[in-house]
């Protein structure tokens, strides 16, 4: 054996344990990643082995890493449509058998998939490569001080600028608001995805509803902006991520009201990148992060709901679950009565139609 080879072997043996132990998780940053750190990593058997890295969503970087063979992210926190595309394209590894065998069962032995189905979700190919995280929603909120008299409480009110004058804050992309528009037009929230999928002209109908508020809209593009808009009085109501509103209420002493009707529930997944350098360790952490206990734990730090149905009873049984002895359930988006008035986003339909609608939405905004 040559000297060089020996030296190489020595060095790799010395450093291998370090290299293999750090599992890199790409996530969205901010309070969300902080909640993951506390609920998943800090409760893990080896907290030091998990490193979070921020990214801005989308599969661009993942595809670049997998295509170039230089994978540095072991796990990626993604939206459901990206989970589907990533799994279909092989950017994420199909670990359906590992999820079935290694997944932490619920108190009555529910598998991960059964738990998600109990929460009203249907199988999509993202389930083959990813484990569930949280439900987050696009919810409308307002400052009650802005409405001295009657308060808005429905989507119809949000789209009615005569009854409730003032500007509305909505996002610069399409998916939340165009579904809410159909609710304002009288469609049952639960039926919105099927209406979009099966009725021709449903999209036109949604755009017509949105035309009604178009001159009264301020568009935001970063999750912190709607809070600022409502606080500064720039708008009277805004669509926002419910976790941001919850944080403002719980941590910053705000008193915002939610309009749960027509909230758009969306899913969040943790997926294993194909060619992950720490595959085994990453798999082990995935199973820990998707256990009902971890999911319930996360609700302590951010008001997003566990995607596994068996996470909810843990919170309910232990209220006050939130920091400083506050009840968390009033801020959870997926309680049974709120699910009745919710739109559950259909990621498959969006991964089919998202690009086209997004172009159309931009044309609508700019006109």
């Amino acid at each position: 054996m040559s000297k060089f080879l020996k030296a190489f072997l020595f060095v790799s043996l010395v450093f291998a344990p370090f290299a293999a132990s750090a599992v890199t998780v790409a996530s969205w940053g901010g309070a969300y990643t902080e909640s993951q750190q506390k609920a998943y990593a800090d409760t893990y058997s080896d907290p030091g082995s998990i490193v979070f890295e921020n990214y801005n969503g989308g599969l661009g970087e993942v595809r670049a890493q997998v295509e170039s063979g230089n994978v540095t992210w072991d796990l990626v926190d993604v939206l459901p449509s990206d989970a589907i595309t990533g799994c279909d394209e092989g950017l994420f590894e199909d670990i359906s058998s590992e999820i079935a065998s290694m997944g932490v069962p619920g108190p009555d032995g529910e598998s991960i998939a059964e738990d998600m189905e109990a929460n009203g979700l249907n199988y999509h190919s993202g389930w083959d490569c990813c484990v569930p995280q949280i439900f987050w929603t696009y919810v409308v909120f307002y400052d009650p001080d802005a409405f001295p008299g009657e308060k808005p409480d429905s989507m119809a009110d949000f789209f009615d600028v005569e009854k409730f004058p003032g500007k509305r804050g909505i996002h610069t992309w399409a998916d939340g608001i165009i579904q809410k528009a159909l609710v304002a037009d009288g469609v049952e929230p639960n039926a919105v995805p099927t209406v979009f999928a099966n009725q021709t002209g449903a999209i036109d109908r949604a755009f017509e509803v949105m035309d009604k508020i178009k001159d009264h809209v301020v568009f935001w593009s970063a999750g912190s902006q709607p809070l600022e808009l409502v606080k500064s009085g720039e708008v009277v109501m805004a669509v926002a991520y419910n976790g941001r509103v919850g944080a403002a209420n719980l941590a910053e002493g705000e008193n915002f009201e939610y309009i749960w009707e027509g909230q758009v529930l969306d899913q969040e997944y943790l997926c294993l990148t194909t060619g992950s350098p720490n595959r085994e360790a990453a798999l082990d952490f995935m199973m820990h992060a998707s256990s009902p206990e971890s999911q319930a734990e996360q609700a302590k730090y951010i008001t997003y709901g566990p995607m596994r149905a068996s996470g909810i009873p843990i919170i309910e049984a232990n209220e006050p679950w939130g920091p400083g002895g506050v009840d968390i359930m009033p801020h959870m988006p997926n309680t049974p009565e709120r699910l009745k008035v919710s739109i559950v986003n259909d990621p498959q339909w969006w991964s089919d139609n998202g690009a086209e609608i997004s172009e159309r939405y931009s044309a609508w905004m700019g006109n």
């Binding site: 599969l59 394209e89 610069t172 009085g233 720039e234 044309a363």
Partner: protein, 425 residues
């Protein structure tokens, strides 16, 4: 001939013809010089030529999907659209087989591609694939593939899906460039305008150019006096002033952008002052941010140092005596400025102008945050397709057009001002 004779006559001391010996020595020098620049050359090739080449290649490449459905596309090309409403049985059969026996991941990638040509391909193929796999597993190959597919999903009887397939049947395609200009193919592969409700790119291109030109002009108008002041004040004051120019330059881009939101929003500082002074009524507050105006204001401020610094470095070395001499010779101050001073600042103006323009045309984060409904530039769409739709072909086409626009401006600039006239210091 004379040349030939004279060299053969001239020999060095060791008997080698002089010309050969010189050549040898020179070759060594050349090689050494080449080796010296080689790392740099390699660096440029790896970090500049290759990525741009890759981008240009991707903007026309369609080989991945052609590797997945070669037979289907071959049969497709034989389809006579005049005669039959739907493609012939062979196309359905080839598609069935390629979906049944193809590699799952390759098909997955092809699906993403297919969805760009028409929304709905993805779930159509996915649901059909499941049925096909089931049939193959049970060893029940259909007698009529057309009927099988149509019964699996009625969209297979919808000719618009088949028309959209026509975009993909060749290894190279200009379709991404057409998409980047709001155009698409009709059923006979003629280029037609995109559905009116989806036309956004041409508008965005024009807006990008417009805002870049405006930002450049505003930067010049605002930057010129500042640079002049910097160059002509006594050192004590000019140093202080320089700090004012550089301080925002060193501040994080995000901080400055957010600061502009605070300044410009309807309940922000500027509107507040205007209302307080009675210039605006409380209901008539101006919408200064989350639109084009916001983008223009924030970008001008952020790019201003890129105009001031080259201008300043050029103005500093213009001798003050020139202006005095011109006025001594009878020119009014305005004439002296116009005919003597200004022409000497052209290298600085063009360097600053080109710099600001190039930066502005590809600007992303500031328009993204303050752009709101109509202040977003083409960079927004490049990022969107790069990350969200994964339509890297369209991304590359948008990037290539951006590069082309830059080259045109560069060429124009060279024609009008001359590239030798540029000066950064």
């Amino acid at each position: 001939m004379e040349d030939c004779i004279s060299t053969s006559a001239l020999l060095t001391t060791d008997g080698v013809p002089l010309k050969q010996s010189l050549k040898k020595a020179e070759r060594k020098n050349k090689l050494r010089a080449f080796l010296l620049v080689f790392p740099l050359l390699l660096f440029i090739i790896v970090t500049f030529v290759m990525p741009i080449g890759d981008m240009l290649f991707r903007s026309v490449d369609d080989s991945q999907i052609n590797g997945v459905f070669p037979n289907t596309f071959n049969e497709y090309k034989k389809w006579d659209k005049e005669k039959d409403v739907l493609p012939p049985e062979e196309v359905y059969k080839a598609l069935f087989e390629e979906l049944a026996y193809g590699e799952k991941i390759q098909i997955g990638r092809a699906l993403t591609r297919m969805n760009y040509s028409k929304s709905g391909w993805k779930s159509l193929i996915k649901t059909t694939s499941r049925q096909i796999k089931k049939a193959v597993k049970k060893d029940e190959l259909p007698n009529n593939y057309k009927e099988f597919l149509i019964s699996a999903n009625e969209k297979w009887a919808d000719p618009t899906f088949w028309y959209a397939m026509g975009q993909m049947v060749n290894n190279t395609t200009p379709i991404y460039y057409w998409n980047a200009l709001d155009r698409t193919y009709d059923q006979d592969q003629n280029v037609v305008m995109q559905d009116e409700k989806r036309r956004i790119y041409i508008k965005t291109w024009i807006k990008t150019l417009k805002i870049s030109v405006y930002v450049t002009i505003f930067c010049l108008i605002l930057g010129f006096p500042v640079a002049h002041l910097l160059a002509n004040l006594p050192l004590r004051y000019s140093n202080l002033l320089m700090i004012f120019v550089l301080l925002p330059f060193w501040t994080s881009l995000l901080v400055r952008t957010t600061a502009w939101i605070v300044m410009l929003q309807q309940n922000g500082v500027i509107n507040g002052i205007l209302v307080w002074l009675g210039i605006l009524s409380d209901d008539g507050r101006l919408q200064l941010v989350y639109n084009e105006t916001g983008t223009l204001i924030a970008m001008t401020q952020i790019l201003l140092p890129f105009m001031i610094l080259p201008l300043y470095s050029v103005m500093r070395v213009i001798p003050k005596s020139h202006m005095r001499a011109a006025q001594n010779l009878g020119a009014k101050p305005a004439t002296a400025f116009w005919r003597v001073y200004l022409p000497q600042t052209i290298p600085g103006m063009s360097a600053g102008g080109l710099l600001v323009f190039v930066l502005a045309i590809g600007y992303f984060i500031t328009p993204e945050l303050v752009g709101g409904k109509d202040g977003k530039l083409i960079g927004h769409w490049i990022a969107y397709h790069l990350k969200t739709t994964l339509n890297w072909g369209l991304c590359a086409a948008l990037g290539a057009i951006l590069l082309g626009v830059m080259l045109i401006f560069y060429w124009l600039y060279n024609k009008i001002v001359g590239i030798d006239n540029i000066k950064l210091g």
